[in-house]
Amino acid sequence: MTTRVLVLEDDIGLRTSLRLVLEDDDYEVEEAGDAETALRLVEERDIEIMLVDLMLGGVDGFTFIRRARPLTDAPIVVISARDGVQDIVSALEAGADDYVSKPFDVTEVQARLRALLRRPALAQAASSPDQQPDAPHAGEVFVLDSGAGPLVFDRAAAHLRRGEREIHLTMTEYKLLTVLSENAGRVLSRAALLDHVWDRGFFGDERIVDVHVRRLRKKLELDPAEPRTLVTVRGLGYRLDAR
């Protein structure tokens, strides 16, 4: 089974070399040199993951990420020569999942892609629903109280529901919530989350975790500024409190 990857990069040299390497890795590569073409490809093709440069002629990468996010949950890896803190945070807040700054080692890009494409163990278990009926966390359903009625996180089905309404999660948000709920009531350090969700090493960029926690809170919490479910433990990390 090949994975369809979209490469949005306006430099034709880098775009082509990435295509060659990714095709060698058995990806199916779609190329775009500008954001409009890329958005059309996202709509028309079943894109599973994206490599996106931020500095493009015309519509820039930030805008592309914001416009693509409602169309797809596919993970977005930013590849950019801009590595200022503000640029990284903006890209993540727009909806990117991870970033690699230029000049990068292509093996690092490959590792990021693999990490983001890796499905959490529980989601794989969804294909065999009868498995482990007495799992330690009372099955794959997890109930959260955010102050606005119970939130039901069905890990196996990858569903987050408040009443009848389904709340949409991106791949990375889903993985983050899975890891947090598996360790409900326990504090997880940023480094641990980075390791579990992003496969990043010892001192990765922990801002990725912070931005994703913020994004997740917008979906879980009644008041994201005063979180009651996904709380910050100062100096240590984050903790998800079950009802």
């Binding site: 430099d11 040299g13 880098l14 070399s17 990435l18 060659l20 390497v21 060698d24 590849i79 020569a81 590595d83 803190v85 230029k102 000049p103 990068f104 080692d105 292509v106 093996t107 010892f202 001192f203 960029d205 922990e206 100062r234 100096g235």
Partner: protein, 452 residues
Amino acid sequence: MRPGLRASVTATFALGALLLSVALSVGTYVSARQLLVEQRERTALRQAYADAALVRDGLATAGTSVSEALGAVAPPAGASMHVYRRGQWFSSTLDQSGEALTAGVRPTVDEGSASLAWTDRTDPHAVVVGIPLPSVDAQYFEIAVADELQATLHTLALALAVGAALTTLAGAALGRTASGRLLSPLREVSRAATDISAGDLHRRLAGSDDPDLSVLVDSFNHMVDDLHDRIERDARFAADVSHELRTPLTTLTTSLALLQRARDLSPQSQRAVGLMADELARFRRALEDLLALGRLEAGIDESALSPTAVDDLVRHALATGGAEGLDVRSDGSGAQVLVDRPQMVRALVNLVRNAELHGGGLASVRTEVRGDHVDITVRDTGPGVPPDERERIFERFARAGGTKVGTGSGLGLSIVAETVRRHGGTVRCAGADGGGAEFVVRLPLSRPEVDR
């Protein structure tokens, strides 16, 4: 050594005052002396005429001798009267020097005219008046010693000299004060220049209302602005160039990665690909170092600082630098520092790589808490760094011994220095016991209550 500006100004003022007061004093003395002398001569002449008339009248009386005639006249104090009659000298005093003292006036008197002259045969000098008395066939001479004139002139000269000396001193004092006031803005300029050369490029001179000074202040500030702009432009240029190289370099490394995977390359091609890979890796390190320096120069982002265990930093740096096997001697473990982790790790990795690349291999790493800071000491087994190069090696593109060795970018240690400095710490190079070099990074400890 040339005298300083202040000394020169003071000396010039003093000299000016001296010349002026000497000229004035001499002028005053000369005219006063002339006036006093003329006055004295007039007095002497008047007195002599009066006395001569009395002597003539005395001699005109028959039977009166010259001595009697002289005795009948009371000469003024300090004066002596002399009469020459028929080849014989008569005098009102016992002193018989009349002939010698009157030598200056006698020729004129012999011709029948009155005459006045000064003689220096007495002390003080005397004014000599000669008057012919043809009616009694005699010549009358009066010699008046000008002692009061001499005393007056002495006093005047002394007063003028003292005045000149005081004026000179006053001139020097004025010069010193004036130059001090003139130089105080210069001292301010020099302090500002010192601050600026120490790296404070935002230092400017305060504006001045003084039209003469504002020119200096404006041009000085303008110069610093220009300097600041130029330095920023240079830094931006380096950053821009590095930035522009990122994408093409990534294309090269990505394409090369593909070539390295190819199995059907000839051995020669494989070697060539290997060479390219090595050089590109080196190029990439240099570019990353340049970018890191650019980021450091842009300043530390406070939000990127987080409390981090020193031992974790060191362990991570050793792992990244390819020396994870090394034992770290830790004294005061659990010590935390407030750092931008990726930046500080990069700095420590640079020290580790420096030891491997230039220092003959890493010998030991030690962390030690001392007071409110922690020392991270990295030792190598190399030849050490000569004392006179221990500061220079932190400069950009400086290499110990001036030799170009290894594959470093030449920026590694300057990144260390800049990173540590931006974190409020210091780094120094010393000689380790038993040879080798020792680099000590000193960082302030973070207070435990600091939260991220």
